[in-house]
Symmetry: C2
Subunit: 230 residues, 2 copies
């Protein structure tokens, strides 16, 4: 009998979280010795985990210089959101063909159950988790493991941006319900009718709207970075 999760897996998960949250700053060089001490593992398993993250696009690697955090640029953000459109919209098209009535009903129930929580959520992380969860469940109905895998990767790398977006969204809409859940409802309504084109258009518009908002939110956050005094 063996532990199902290896040490490298554990280190990998910890690093993935750190990289997703930009615990490493963009382009920052990663010191292996220091990091291995923090994570309680030697450099060998650490480097194995780091290599996985390079392959997944969370980090970069330079020969003889080691590992670096991925950069964070406007075009990178644009690319990630466009990739989400590609993956999520095609998954939705498949879901419209394939999802069982029971699965769709379950997703509707989930959305309704979340609605009050979504409006009362106090933590940004909580809001994000609910948003991500809806999109993930939607993709799951496609039955396509590759699309889900890709989406999970994109979500990990875009997470931090969404957090910035949500933060601004909440500040703007202060108190009022976040307008996003209605977009989810529109997608779901079309899915219920198995109207793929309408569903896909609704989802595309939703993601592209968020992309615009997120880009703007990041722009503002950046500009504030260089003018720290209020």
């Amino acid at each position: 009998m063996s532990k199902r999760e290896s040490n490298v897996d554990r280190v990998y998960e910890a690093l993935r979280r750190m990289a997703a949250d930009f615990a490493f700053k963009p382009d920052q060089r990663i010191n292996e010795s220091a990091l291995s001490e923090v994570l309680g593992a030697s450099r060998t398993p650490l480097r194995e985990a780091l290599n996985r993250l390079v392959a997944e696009g969370f980090l970069t690697f330079q020969s003889n210089r080691g590992f670096f955090c991925r950069p964070l640029t406007p075009s990178y953000i644009l690319d990630l959101y466009e990739a989400r459109v590609a993956v999520e919209c095609e998954a939705l098209r498949l879901s419209c063909q394939r999802a069982s009535e029971a699965e769709i009903t379950a997703l509707s129930a989930y959305l309704e159950r979340m609605e009050p929580e979504y409006e009362s959520a106090t933590e940004l992380e909580e809001l994000l988790a609910m948003d991500e969860s809806f999109h993930a469940r939607l993709a799951q109905l496609s039955g396509n493991n590759e699309l889900q895998r890709i989406l999970r990767n994109l979500n990990g790398r875009i997470r931090y941006i969404r957090l910035i977006d949500l933060k601004r969204m909440r500040e703007e809409a202060d108190g009022r319900a976040p307008g996003d859940i209605s977009a989810h409802r529109r997608v779901l309504e079309a899915l219920v009718k198995r109207d793929a084109d309408t569903a896909v258009e609704a989802l595309r518009n939703h993601i592209e709207k968020r992309r615009e908002q997120a880009t703007e939110a990041v722009r503002i956050a950046f500009s504030q970075l260089y003018v720290p005094e209020d």
Copy 2:
């Protein structure tokens, strides 16, 4: 001054080729010591490269049992082709908006230049390289690095299947020009007109047609595997 390509990179590239071509049989366990000898590197850099391939979906990993080749099942093939549709079609939609006239002209020229070579190609590998190259160039016009990155990953894992498909295609169409280039031409014509919907439909049909053919070709290849005598 440093070599631009590290040893791990070299080992990784070699392993990727092997995994793409199923030099490791599906589900086969990989012996690290034997492999490290073949590749002329110790187990440390070998395992770093293997971990990258796990993250990319070429291999799997089990705690205390090591690395295994990815399985090869009908649903896996279906998933990969569907993911290609998602990525390539959205990339094409973006290309219709963004590609410069010069880029489109260059791609047209490329297609025309390839046509005679495509018809006379003697090696399957050569045919595949040309097919992959057209699709990659098309995706490049989107300007989206993430979509290109995902496509490169999918292409690596699907390569072997396409080879089986091309082999059967050539056997069936013995001597005659492979019908595939005309599908590429249809996509390109719509791109020239910046008619995204038509272009995307043409590309989707093309890839789905290949998926059906490839699935069938793999089915036949499998059935022959278990009845080796003619």
